[in-house]
């Protein structure tokens, strides 16, 4: 059974439909990456899964239980198994609480009164490689990388089965970024965690994700194993995203397929294929609306896909 099953999820804020039918599954222990430009709906997807954003239609099942629109009474015990890592590491920590209170808060919320909170705080800090005396510090005394690790410790406090991580490496220095990714990979192997990770850093995706989905204007346009997507992207948008990744090599310049302009407004969705106006490979057929088609585990929404 899949751990997480998202089917045809729709979210609208008034006239703006941010998610226009998103479907994907995550198996236990699997890492699934969602990538796409700002405004493609990545964050809304994971917030909707966690019950932090509305979802008017579709279904989200976690271990077989339907949780879309579930009341807080149902969600709260589930949050033990499903933790969230927020995008802004410092902003997601209350400035008035010590690190000890912050990382043991999940135990208090879940009513685990028998836990020795001091010992747990120590264990968690050690797990994310922070010195234990950090328990007495406040968030403003931490660097971005350290605050990130506190976020990881807090997300892992209750040993969840699934982590929803929103841009876990954004704003980190390269040397620290590697440390955090190694930590996540390591914990995943030890605890059998599954992860949904959002990022627009494709180099990161390559190293952590088993499978990935590419989002455009609130829909998946391509999905497959990380290896296939990187080696043979079929959707022109995926191809453009992959080639928009500046490489640390001055001689790698100029191998780029330029992506023109910016995503269209969600209020004025283009007809036919929604990417066609920006697509360097668009054909006449693209005025028709492409359907989602799956072939051997590789999903694609494109009428003029790139050759295999």
């Amino acid at each position: 059974m899949s751990l997480l099953n998202v089917v045809d999820l729709h979210t609208s804020y008034g006239p703006v439909n941010v998610l226009a039918g998103v479907s994907f599954t995550v198996q236990p222990g699997e890492t699934y990456a969602l990538v796409g430009e700002s405004g493609s709906g990545k964050t809304t997807v994971i917030r909707a899964i966690a019950g932090l954003a509305p979802a008017q239609d579709g279904s989200v099942t976690f271990e077989g239980q339907e949780i879309r629109g579930a009341p807080e009474k149902v969600m709260r015990p589930l949050r033990k198994d499903m933790a969230m890592m927020f995008q802004d590491p410092v902003g997601s920590l209350s400035p008035r609480l010590t690190i000890r209170s912050l990382i043991t808060e999940p135990y208090r919320i879940q009513g685990m009164k028998d836990k020795d909170l001091d010992a747990e705080a120590k264990r968690l800090l050690e797990m994310v490689n922070l010195p234990t005396h950090f328990a007495d510090r406040y968030p403003y005394q931490l660097s971005g990388g350290q605050a990130r690790r506190v976020g990881v410790a807090r997300a892992l406090a209750l040993e969840p089965k699934l982590i929803l991580a929103d841009e876990p490496t954004a704003g980190l220095d390269v040397s620290v970024q590697g440390e955090l990714l190694n930590l996540l990979n390591d914990l995943r192997e030890r605890l059998g965690l599954a992860m949904v990770i959002i990022t627009h850093n494709l180099s990161v995706v390559r190293h952590v994700a088993d499978r990935m989905g590419i989002m455009y204007l609130g829909r998946l346009v391509e999905e497959g194993t990380t290896e296939t997507i990187f080696n043979n992207p079929r959707h022109p948008y995926t191809r453009c995203l992959l080639s928009a990744n500046p490489e640390p090599d001055p001689d790698a310049r100029l191998e780029r397929i330029a992506l023109k302009g910016e995503p269209p407004s969600l209020l004025k969705r283009p007809s036919g294929c929604e990417f066609r106006e920006r697509c360097p490979f668009a054909k006449d057929i693209c005025t028709q609306t492409p359907e989602w088609e799956v072939d051997g585990g590789h999903g694609l929404r494109c009428l003029a896909p790139l050759p295999q």
Binding site: V174, G178, L181, V204, H207, L241, P246, E247, P250
Partner: protein, 326 residues
């Protein structure tokens, strides 16, 4: 012959703090030639921001210029009267900041803001507006005349950053400082901004000092690279030399750490263990030695000089000291 525009000459800057003096910049030396794009790479706390604010002399009140000079077209900016600095800022030297969401005044139209920054010009208002529209067109904002009447919130992040670039270039500066201008943007927009900067640089011939911690962007855009670590220059040279033949262990490790560099999926990514030293309480010797896997006895006792290894390629490391030409 290449003409030097900006010379940073043995610059040392301290911040006076309750814990004593924090040596934010130590003995920084490098040049920017006319029309050249120089990139500064370095992680948090390496002194990038202190360096920029020193060049513009927009430093915090507790800043002390301990030593050195910043010469712009031959004149030492640290000794220049404040009036002169005001004339330079936004005219000869302009800057694009990191966060495009916060660089514009939210209650004024883009047109008004672009008029305001032309306050030195004697042109008529209509001419100034036409100039503003032309600049917006140059950074790829469609329908610029109509867009001038709009407010910042009506533009996307990528557009706001391009508007910031248009504003910075309006006075045709000799030096454009770009402080992590793409960090807040998506990869696709990042690429657009880089390409736009390259085009504009060819058109306006201004020199660009480009600050970033994104190695890919630096490799893409810059002619020369200065690598900073904990307030000092550890290596500088031609972009190809730095990326293909790095001579300082920090540069080497930094390039290795960039996941964009590693094509095969890796279970364990390389990192640089350890932390940047406390700048208020600097250890003697090489500042990188605690995190360096090639550290020797000499590294603990003596600060390595920034040796010239090749024409235009400098590195501060005892490992190369023997090869040094000067």
């Amino acid at each position: 012959m290449t003409e030097t525009l900006l010379e940073i000459d043995h610059l040392s800057v301290d911040y006076e703090t309750g814990r004593g003096d924090l040596n934010a910049l130590r003995d920084i030396t490098f040049n920017i030639n006319k029309g050249e794009i120089v990139g500064i790479v370095g992680e948090s706390g390496c002194g990038k921001s202190t360096l920029i604010s020193s060049i513009l002399r927009l430093t915090a009140p507790n800043t002390r210029f301990r030593e050195g000079e910043i010469r712009f077209k031959g004149q030492d900016l640290l000794q220049a009267p404040e009036r002169h600095m005001r004339d330079l800022r936004g005219a000869d030297i302009s800057i694009v900041f990191q966060d495009p969401m916060q660089t514009h005044n939210p209650v004024l139209t883009i047109g008004q803001q672009m008029l305001d920054i032309q306050h030195r010009s004697k042109q008529s208002k209509a001419d100034k507006l036409a100039h503003a529209a032309k600049m917006l067109g140059a950074v790829g904002i469609p329908d610029p005349e109509a867009r001038l009447k709009q407010y910042p919130h009506e533009f996307s992040g990528g557009m706001r950053q391009r508007i910031a670039i248009a504003m910075a270039l309006m006075s045709e500066p000799d030096l454009l400082i770009a402080d992590e201008p793409t960090t807040a943007l998506d990869a696709t927009l990042e690429v657009q901004i880089i390409e736009r900067l390259q085009e504009l640089q060819r058109e306006f011939h201004c020199a660009i000092l480009f600050i970033s911690h994104h190695l890919g962007v630096i490799a893409e855009l810059c002619d020369r690279v200065v690598v900073m670590y904990a307030g000092a220059v550890v290596e500088s040279g031609d972009v190809r030399e730095i990326f293909h033949n790095p001579k300082h262990p920090y540069t080497r490790r930094l390039i290795e750490c960039d996941p964009g560099h590693i094509k095969e999926r890796a279970r364990v990514l390389p990192t640089i263990p350890g932390e940047v030293p406390d700048l208020a309480n600097l250890p003697g010797g090489c500042i990188f030695r605690d995190r360096c896997d090639q550290a020797m006895a000499q590294c603990a006792s003596d600060v390595p000089p920034l040796d010239q290894l090749k024409e235009g390629h400098h590195a501060a490391c005892w490992l190369n000291h023997e090869e040094a030409t000067t």
